[in-house]
């Protein structure tokens, strides 16, 4: 499978001197390979998150198209686009994204619990739970399994979001500044985890300012003023 953007542009209406249209992403084309780790970096406000949201099926471009193989994401209705998102994408959005009434374990299992079929095999459920524990282990928050997000640090919540994005073993992992509030050690752990995903046939797209992430990337792009420049 490949995910590609063809000449996508996103404009926002915004009060500004002169024109009131601001172009956040301008005529970007990008193909994520079936496998490998892709990195985008760039200044704040250069349009990175906007681009990723469009790739993730969360924000319709002003012009241009996003394809998953032959499927034009934004020609799908909400139901089918949502299904495509949950079946193929794992996303770690920028900022804190926790459900506060659920424990860490439940947060991680949520994508699985929410869309599971009714008469699901016990073995399958057990498998998901085991995988969730494994992910918590790998991200170093297995002690917090039964804790609620209200009692956790920013970096811990971030790692929980990473585990949640991985639980359904998506083909595409889209991570918007996944290491923003992590220390060096944890940054390394997370990047290793992403690399392992890439090595196992997944496609990983990371937005990051972190210089350490450069070393992990197979392909790197620079984003500047809405334009995507290969490096």
């Amino acid at each position: 499978m490949n995910l590609r953007a063809e000449n996508i542009t996103k404009q926002f209406i915004r009060k500004r001197k002169g024109s009131n249209v601001m172009t956040a992403v301008q005529d970007v084309s990008l193909t994520l390979p079936e496998q490998g780790l892709t990195l985008i970096y760039g200044h704040s406000g250069s349009g990175k998150s906007t681009l990723m949201n469009m790739l993730a099926g969360l924000l319709a471009p002003t012009s241009g198209q996003v394809f998953l193989d032959d499927t034009d994401l934004y020609k799908l209705d909400d139901q089918n686009l949502s299904k495509l998102r949950r079946d193929h994408f794992g996303m770690i959005p920028q900022g804190q994204t926790a459900l506060h009434s659920l424990t860490v374990m439940e947060n991680v299992l949520l994508p699985y619990a929410l869309f599971g079929k009714k008469g699901r095999e016990e073995a399958e459920t057990a498998g998901a739970e085991a995988y969730a524990r494994e992910l918590l282990e790998m991200t170093g928050i297995s002690d917090l399994r039964d804790v609620k997000p209200g009692e956790m640090s920013g970096g811990e919540i971030r790692r929980m979001a990473i585990a949640r994005a991985l639980i359904r073993k998506p083909e595409f992992l889209l991570a918007d500044e996944p290491t923003a509030d992590l220390d060096e050690d944890n940054t390394k752990i997370v990047l290793d985890l992403f690399q392992a995903q890439a090595d196992h046939g997944k496609s990983v797209l990371i937005i990051s300012h972190d210089p350490t992430s450069r070393a992990f990337a197979d392909t790197t792009y620079l984003m500047r003023d809405g334009l995507l420049l290969p490096e």
Partner: protein
């Protein structure tokens, strides 16, 4: 794996859930209690209308002017008044009178069933056309000498023996509830009541002067023949039968009916106001909750929930406390209305009859449904609004 997300969100926020429970409970309680009061008054009045049965009542002049009649029939205050028996013949000879029947009233406290005085009503089984038709539901057969029928509010049952003015009367049957003065009354044949009057006189408990029971009646009930106007017959009686007051039962009731319409309009208006208020408050609460939880909803969208799924989760979160709260409020309303219906009756001074179990169930279900739907409607507004916003925009909004 773990209990459904709506459940977790509900139990995870006890304060918020308690608030929603209270709100919907309050809403359901008020609508149901109000509806029960309106219903009780309406059917009380309908029941009274049906039970009175006669077109015209002829009573002693003093009875009507002293408001004894109103007090007795509408509020159920025991009372008695008498006029000369000759009235019966005079009235029956009037043109347009189809059938008549006389009744005797007596009040007595000296009974072993009841703390308050009860109204004793004597009727002539041969001519009676108002009491027997509805008594037949519960009691068939002739009411023998010194046998009585008791209203449903009296603490006496078939086979019991009640004592009035020292005379024992056997209870033949207990009547079904009417919500009117008839519920606190005791019925007996003319002969029985005459005996009781005689007893009362002998014991000097009777302070209506020296009257001969055989020469008096308390009221004459008139059924007007088809083809005659009630007003004409009424006027004829007024002109020709002196020292009496003829009352059209329809008028007797219409005065109260007006009062009833007033009371139920006020309650109905209150219900509407409370409903709107609750809808507005609930909508506001849900909008606030939605704003506070925007980010959580965005997360659900990110992990692949469709708009429909998101709306379904929000609706469930609103419905569960809505249903529980409404049921609790509904049960409380029924309980209170049932416990205090006597008090409501005496406070409003109007006949009051609650529906039977099937009717009550239907009303409870209907009102609970309204209350639950109100909550659902209120939450649907914000569920719809939140599900329309682009997920990416929500995500940035609170970074």
């Amino acid at each position: 794996m773990f209990r459904s997300l709506p459940f977790r969100n509900i139990s995870g926020k006890p304060g918020r859930t308690a608030g929603l429970l209270l709100l919907s409970g309050f809403l359901c309680f008020f609508i149901l209690f109000g509806s029960l009061v309106i219903y009780g008054l309406r059917s009380g009045m309908a029941s009274l209308e049906a039970r009175l049965g006669a077109d015209i009542m002829v009573v002693p002049y003093e009875a009507a002017t002293k408001k004894d009649l109103d007090g007795m029939i509408l509020q159920g205050n025991p009372g008695y008044f008498y006029m000369d028996r000759s009235v019966v013949d005079k009235v029956s000879s009037m043109e347009g009178v189809k059938q008549i029947s006389e009744q005797f009233f007596l009040a007595s406290a000296s009974s072993n069933c009841c703390s308050l005085a009860v109204q004793l009503i004597g009727f002539d089984p041969k001519t009676d056309f108002t009491i027997q038709p509805w008594v037949e539901h519960t009691y068939r057969g002739e009411l023998g000498y010194m046998e009585i029928l008791v209203g449903s509010d009296l603490n006496a049952f078939a086979g019991d023996v009640l004592t009035f003015y020292g005379s024992d009367c056997r209870v033949a049957a207990r009547l079904e509830k009417t919500g009117t003065y008839l519920d606190t009354a005791v019925y007996a044949s003319e002969e029985t009541i005459k005996t009781l009057i005689t007893e009362a006189k002998e014991k000097k408990l009777f302070n209506f002067g020296d009257v001969d029971p055989d020469q008096i009646v308390s009221c004459v009930l008139v059924d007007v023949a088809d083809g005659y106007s009630q007003e004409d017959v009424l006027n004829d009686i007024k002109i020709h039968v002196r020292r009496t007051q003829a009352v059209q039962t329809r008028n007797l009731i219409s005065g109260v009916s007006g009062q009833l319409v007033g009371v139920s309009d006020v309650i109905g208006g209150l219900i509407v106001v409370i409903w709107f208020l609750a809808l507005a408050i609930l909508a506001l609460v849900f909008a606030m909750i939605a704003r506070e939880r925007k980010k959580e909803f965005a997360v659900l969208r990110v992990i692949g929930a469709s708009r429909g799924k998101l709306a379904a989760i929000l609706l469930q979160e609103a419905l569960i406390p809505g249903i529980l709260g409404s049921l609790a409020g509904g049960i409380l309303a029924v309980g209170l209305a049932g416990t205090f219906c006597q008090l409501i009756e005496s406070t409003l001074g109007l006949p009051f009859l609650l529906p039977g179990i099937p009717g009550l169930l239907i009303l409870v279900l209907a009102v609970t449904a309204v209350s639950v739907l109100t909550g659902a409607l209120a939450s649907a507004l914000s569920a719809f609004r939140i599900s329309r916003i682009d997920t990416a925009l929500i995500l940035r909004g609170e970074n």
